[in-house]
């Protein structure tokens, strides 16, 4: 169960906003986390705490295939991203590295700065101050398998053993 504060962003948050290319001369997650979303919200990296949740509109993570984007978000402490929709490469990457994503059509109605409790299994998102409940689409079974294994690499390790 995830519990944290909501950081809100709009539509089409692209990978250049999530982690600008000027910082891509490293793949150290802690380094990347320092600059996470800095061109969209310069105070984000300083304010975010472990367990917090990003909530956004449509097409989150569009643009480049850089896995540095979900890595930066995860290393910043974000426990999951809730958006109306995700760009497809970002979607794969996030699960592969162990950052869960939830697709929620009503994401824009989740209040900024509120505290939420998120249940990844059921997709239930509860706003703690008001008790309002939002429902996200369940995570597809294939992605759940990857999460259960602990990411894509452990999943592949398992497959290599059984073949």
């Amino acid at each position: 169960m995830i519990e944290g504060r909501v950081f809100k962003f709009g539509d089409h948050i692209d990978t250049d906003l999530i982690i600008p290319a000027r910082y891509l001369n490293t793949s150290d997650p802690a380094e990347l986390a320092k600059h996470c979303l800095e061109d969209a919200d310069p105070s984000f990296a300083k304010e975010v705490r472990p367990g917090d949740v990003i909530v956004a509109g449509v097409n989150f993570g569009c643009g480049s295939s850089r896995e540095h984007a979900p890595l930066a978000i995860k290393a910043a402490g974000v426990a999951c991203v809730v958006a109306q929709s995700f760009a497809r490469i970002f979607y794969r990457n996030a699960f592969n590295i162990g950052l869960p994503l939830l697709e929620c059509p009503d994401a824009p109605r989740i209040p900024a700065g509120s505290r939420v409790r998120v249940d990844l299994q059921s997709g239930r998102i509860e706003v703690l101050d008001t008790g309002e409940v939002f429902t996200a689409r369940p995570i597809p079974p294939f992605m759940q398998e990857i999460i259960a294994a602990g990411g894509l690499i452990p999943y592949v390790e398992k497959r290599l053993k059984t073949r």
Binding site: D16, S65, E67, R88, R92, N93, V156, L160
Partner: protein, 421 residues
Amino acid sequence: MGMTITEKILAFHAGKEYVEPGEIVKCRVDVLLANDITAPLAIKEFERLGVPLFDPNALVLVPDHFTPNKDIKSAEQAKTVREFARRHRIPHYFEVGRMGIEHCLLPEQGLVVAGDVVIGADSHTCTYGALGAFATGVGSTDLAAAMALGETWFRVPPSLKFVYTGKLKPWVGGKDLILYTIGQIGVEGALYCAMEFTGPVIEGLSMDGRFTMCNMAVEAGAKNGIIAPDEKTAAYLEGRARRPYKFFRSDPDARYQAVYEFDVSQLEPQVALPHSPANARPVTEVTHITIDQAVIGSCTNGRLEDLRVAAQVLKGKKVHPYVRLIVIPGTQEIYRQALKEGLIEVFLEAGGAVSTPTCGPCLGGHMGVLAKGERAVATTNRNFVGRMGHPESEVYLASPAVAAASAVLGRLAHPSEVVQA
């Protein structure tokens, strides 16, 4: 029910007779690609597995983003890739001086052929759809897994069909078609889908123009862009394909999630304004916008035809005193050919800077990063906030003809303002 070209290629590589959209399939991959930014992460993950590469011939490594190395950290990244290539005896590792921007280089070198399934740790891997291949971008971890397994999983995408009819005006080409298309459907208009480009206008388009179109499919959120192979594809593959190839075509009764028909006879050269590739306008509506820099290059428009068109506009002209023109041939081979044809001479005479192949300014890496408040017209594919430098700089996406004309006039310009077609 028939299948689309995308479905057929995926079915073939999954060892199945038939697949349908939404289904998850495991596919054999023919080519794997990574660059100096994405390869180091993939290598790290791959080495955790402690298994050999499934096929050293299938992996292509191209350090192109921050090379020739722009700083110490990027030099370290490039070194990681180089040493991995040597350790594993990767034949298709491309060193500075013998390389090119990956998506110009792989087709040119015949490393990708029609009918392939290609995954690359770079979003513009979708470029190779122009050859009638299924090609898509993935992240480093997906690539690492495929380096070990020789296969990956896909959700079979629904296909969108785009039919282009009419006759293109002078100075209008692949870049204008794709900017216009993204302008029509939006940057999430093809999310998770295959974009299949068809119709007489596409048949008439050169291979370079087709690469440009498929290159930007990801800018509409697509999984892949694809064009049915024809005699032009065959002529292109002739003499360069390093493996046998296979032509797939969509069945007449294939199913599409949507069909778009565009009569493009009246289409003007397009410019996508900041900060979205979907902000496309006819250039004639924005000729009042002044520019500080013009960039001609990238995996979208750094090919020979692009340089020829740019030179046609720039021949005998001078770059506006307030503008920096930066021309970056897509590969070493393109550079050499442009030199032979006298194109480089034209750029230098006009007062432009010509660089060795690199992604450079396209992603705000080096070789032309923008300062606060500066504006560039670029033949690249993304104009997101901060893409070419300072978060308050601006990028206007356009064709090589428009970029060249704008370099001369110091503002966004229609090529016919500078030269007769």
